[in-house]
């Protein structure tokens, strides 16, 4: 499954802001590390703002901060602001033949799983997954460098 760029940016923004709801980040700071236009990201943040998930802080050092409830807002809540995962429209040019209906059944099965997954993962659960995976990556790296050290020593 692929999410549109705006959707992914929205999720990344929510995650970076939710990590510390007391902190505000400028659009340029949020964009840091992603190869995207500030203009595009600003548009995404305005949509998140209208949904009450982030708030624009004006003035010097202004930016955005997270205003949602990380334990209750789910990945689905963010995604569904940008795309329709729950009810993808059938392709207009598809005539409803028995084959198209059969394919529709299988695709609906996949969509139901996707939606159930997105709905069950809260922003705070995502933050825990990020922490776990980065800890694992650090551990792997240090194991790798230990192996490298022992190689160097030998």
């Amino acid at each position: 499954m692929r999410l549109q760029q705006a959707t992914r940016l929205a999720l990344y923004s929510v995650l970076v802001l939710a990590r510390d709801p007391t902190r505000q980040l400028a659009v340029a700071e949020i964009a840091d590390g992603y190869d995207i236009s500030i203009h595009h990201l600003a548009k995404v943040l305005r949509t998140l703002g209208r949904a009450g998930l982030v708030e624009a802080v004006r003035g010097v050092g202004g930016g955005y901060r997270f205003t949602g409830n990380a334990k209750r807002v789910t990945v689905f809540d963010v995604i569904s602001l940008f795309e329709d995962v729950a009810n993808p429209a059938p392709d207009d040019h598809d005539v409803l033949t028995p084959a198209a209906r059969a394919l529709g059944l299988i695709l609906a099965e996949i969509d139901e799983h996707a939606v159930a997954t997105f709905r069950s993962v809260s922003i705070s659960t995502m933050l825990k997954i990020i922490e776990r995976t980065s800890q694992r990556a650090t551990a792997d790296r240090s194991k790798g460098s230990e192996a490298q050290d022992s190689l160097d020593l030998s």
Binding site: K71, A116, T117, R119, S120, S122, T125, K128, R132
Partner: protein
């Protein structure tokens, strides 16, 4: 009591303890299940206690959470080996917390206690299965770190030849 508990953060409830279920807990277990599912099945719970609370106690765990002697919830799990060829793993197949005791860490404490039992038995994998529209339970399991496993569950109606 319920109010004090609702205000307390999970780890402040020092009185919270998790222990193996006893026969006298089964009325409360059955009552909690009936309140949640709307279906009273005391004989089923007595039978489940008989099987999971008294036999093969090195592989079957029927746990109860209580605070100051008050029943707050329960969890049941067992070690299943070679099901569909899979190496032994721990299955959690029931967990329920009384509505007025929820969101204070009782579910998490039961979950961890069950994981601890499985770990002590040398098991390194926990599994469960639930309806995909059960958002509450799914969110709970995900918050504990569970992710989709490698199995896919399939079914078909048998009345349709």
């Amino acid at each position: 009591m319920a109010v004090a508990r609702a205000l307390a953060s999970p780890h402040e409830d020092a009185a919270l303890s998790i222990r193996p279920a006893r026969a006298e807990d089964i009325a409360a277990v059955s009552e909690l299940d009936a309140a949640i599912t709307g279906l009273a099945k005391p004989a089923y719970w007595r039978d489940l206690f008989e099987r999971y609370g008294t036999r093969r106690q090195d592989q079957r765990f029927f746990l109860v959470a209580e605070s100051d002697g008050e029943f707050l919830g329960f969890a049941i799990g067992e070690i299943r080996a070679w099901e569909f060829g899979a190496p032994p793993c721990g299955w959690l197949f029931a967990i329920d917390v009384k509505p007025d005791a929820r969101l204070t860490g009782v579910g998490t404490a039961l979950f961890h206690a069950l994981c601890e039992r499985f770990r002590a038995a040398g098991i390194d994998k926990l599994r469960t299965m639930l309806a995909r529209d059960n958002h509450l339970m799914l969110s709970f399991f995900r918050s504990q770190g569970m992710m989709a496993g490698p199995s896919i569950q399939l079914e078909m109606a048998l009345d349709d030849p």
